[in-house]
């Protein structure tokens, strides 16, 4: 090793070392991500199912047929719509609850705050399948939830949660909210804690009430943090699979099927890999577009700081 004679930029001299360092990652990414991405595009443009008995690189060309089919596929479209609805409902409620919790923890004094924060956070750690299992057991016909309902509202209040599509969806949303509200809480709470105290104090000396300070000072300052949390959580929620699989299996029928679940079934249960590939790519494009849209206000926020 030698130091460059140009003192300021010596670290960039050992360029080969830098390349070497990222080599393992490059290899993995190519192997597991990039090549498959190419294959997916290829697959979506051909017509191939494993049962056809030919190797995948010999599959007959199909052009954009798969895509056209997807856009007219009722099941696909309703899964898409359903998933979007799930995301809106779940993330929306998570945000409101998380905000309320964060405000409560930030502005109120009570002992053992640390311990309670820890308790609140643990649902995020649990495997999705376990959460699904938990809530599945809770909402059984003879389960605790129905028991409580009966106690409160009488014998007729017992609900068959999994027989009704809307109710089943509700249980899924509830499970997701239970698991991920802590995330919103955590991010917003940290954001609140990281706010500089001076603008708030300045607002106080200028005569603003606590509510006015919150609305005009704190909330705008939290905007970037909130946006990041919403974007990240929405993207993750869109991929929802495990919960639906465990709790309802997409049922009754296919009325609670999420997008990921339908894609999974198409590709890995029915074996229509080409079709699944096309749908996956459609979803990819959609997600990329939406993400781009959602990131734009964030960029603007960060820029004007």
């Amino acid at each position: 090793m030698h130091l460059s004679t140009r003192w300021g930029r010596w670290w960039e001299e050992d360029r080969w070392m830098g390349q070497l360092l990222i080599l393992p990652m490059q290899l993995l990414i190519w192997f597991v991500l990039i090549i498959p991405m190419l294959i997916v595009i290829y697959l979506s443009l051909v017509s191939w199912q494993p049962i056809m008995g030919v190797d995948w690189w010999q599959a007959p060309f199909a052009g954009l047929r798969n895509y056209a089919q997807a856009l007219q596929d009722q099941r696909f479209l309703s899964a898409l719509g359903r998933t979007i609805g799930l995301v809106l409902a779940a993330v929306g409620l998570e945000f409101l609850l998380g905000l309320a919790l964060a405000l409560f923890f930030h502005y109120q004094e009570f002992p053992a705050k640390r311990i309670f924060s820890s308790i609140i956070l643990y649902p995020m750690m649990l495997p999705w399948v376990v959460v699904g299992l938990c809530f599945y057991l809770l909402f059984l016909d003879k389960g605790p939830v129905n028991y409580v309902l009966i106690q409160l509202f009488g014998p007729g209040a017992s609900v068959q949660w999994y027989q009704n599509p809307l109710l089943a969806l509700m249980t899924i949303v509830l499970a997701d909210i239970w698991q991920w509200t802590p995330f919103m809480f955590l991010v917003i709470y940290s954001g609140l804690g990281a706010l500089p105290p001076e603008p708030v104090e300045a607002a106080m000396t200028l005569g603003a009430s606590r509510w006015q300070i919150f609305r005009h000072i704190v909330l705008p300052m939290l905007k970037p943090v909130i946006l990041i949390a919403l974007i990240i959580r929405s993207l993750e929620a869109f991929k929802i699979f495990d919960l639906v699989y465990i709790m309802t299996g997409g049922g009754p029928g296919t009325s609670t099927e999420s997008l990921s679940l339908y894609l999974y079934r198409t590709g890995f249960v029915y074996g229509q890999l080409s079709y699944a590939a096309a749908m996956a790519l459609l979803v990819l494009i959609l997600v990329a577009l939406v993400a781009r849209l959602m990131v734009r206000p964030l960029e603007m926020e960060l820029e004007s700081r």
Binding site: P199, E201, G207, A208, I217, M221
Partner: protein
Amino acid sequence: MSKEQILIRLEELTKEFNGTVAVQDLSLEIREREFLCFLGPSGCGKTTTLRMIAGLERPTRGEIYLRDQRITDWPPQRRNIGFMFQNYALFHHMSVYDNLAFGLRVRGISRMEIERRVRSIAQALELESVLHLRASRLDLSTMQRVALARILVIEPQVLLLDEPLNNFRPGLRELMRAELKRWQYQFGRTMIYVTHDQEEAMTLGDRIVVMNAGRVEQVGTPDEVYWHPATLFVASFIGRPPMNLIPVEYRISEGRAFVRSPDFEIKVDQRRSIIEQSQALPHLILGIRPEQLRIWDPQGSFPTSWTRLPVQIDLVRPLGRKLILDVKTPSGLMLQMIVPSTRHFAPGERVEVAFDPEQIFLFDPQTGRGLY
């Protein structure tokens, strides 16, 4: 329009944080329209005191009165004071206009009235051109003006400023100081200013409150704290270069009182009664400011009563029109003096130094109190 009216009264204000005392029994009267400076090193309690006056900290003990109304428990919102923070604390996500209008909007003032007041202040502080800009895009000196304008527009009873000029490099700092002084005079408001820079306090303040370790060392005009420092701390904190402090011994010989150092001896009969109250006798500390030491010139018109002693020049530091000389006395004592740079000095050169023995300062080494 009497300057003697008391605006704020602090009574034995004390603030403790987790066992450490930040401010101890501070009592003070602040007059209307005065420019008052709290001066002291970091951690002396000056900012804490300011924040208590603002209501941002709650005193552990003591009371605060605003025009004879007890406001100790009042939240900042009620006090109608203006507070300027060290980093200005502007609302970065708002425009300058909205920053200025904020204090008025939260009071429910009508839009027309807000417009009128904001524009008038903006004009007075030359902010009209930036009113529409986002506060985060301003340069420092403009930010300072916006911060000031934001406070002035709500017409508070008093302005509190927490070291607002710290962010400025030296040249600009003096300029902004002059601006602040001008505005205070122009708008006729009471200003309470916190700083650790003694030069700043001396140039800005009508009165200075010198603080150290949570206690008030002295309250007085710049003249008073400079020429009649109440304690050793004040004497050595104010003035640059700092006052020379020389340990001396008090002796009575043939019925006359002297203070004696290895290099010189001074008669102190006039102050004898005060000196003899000190518990630390025979040890005292003698103080003499750098500008009080002159180079002895045989042709010059120095009175013969002046004390003279020979010294050797150790270091010469030019300061434009003046020079700072570090000199060493025969007994090895280092003194600093300031002289005009009309004459050239070289290190190692031997000269004679003279001073007026009646103008020296004496301090009790135990209590730090000045003996006048």
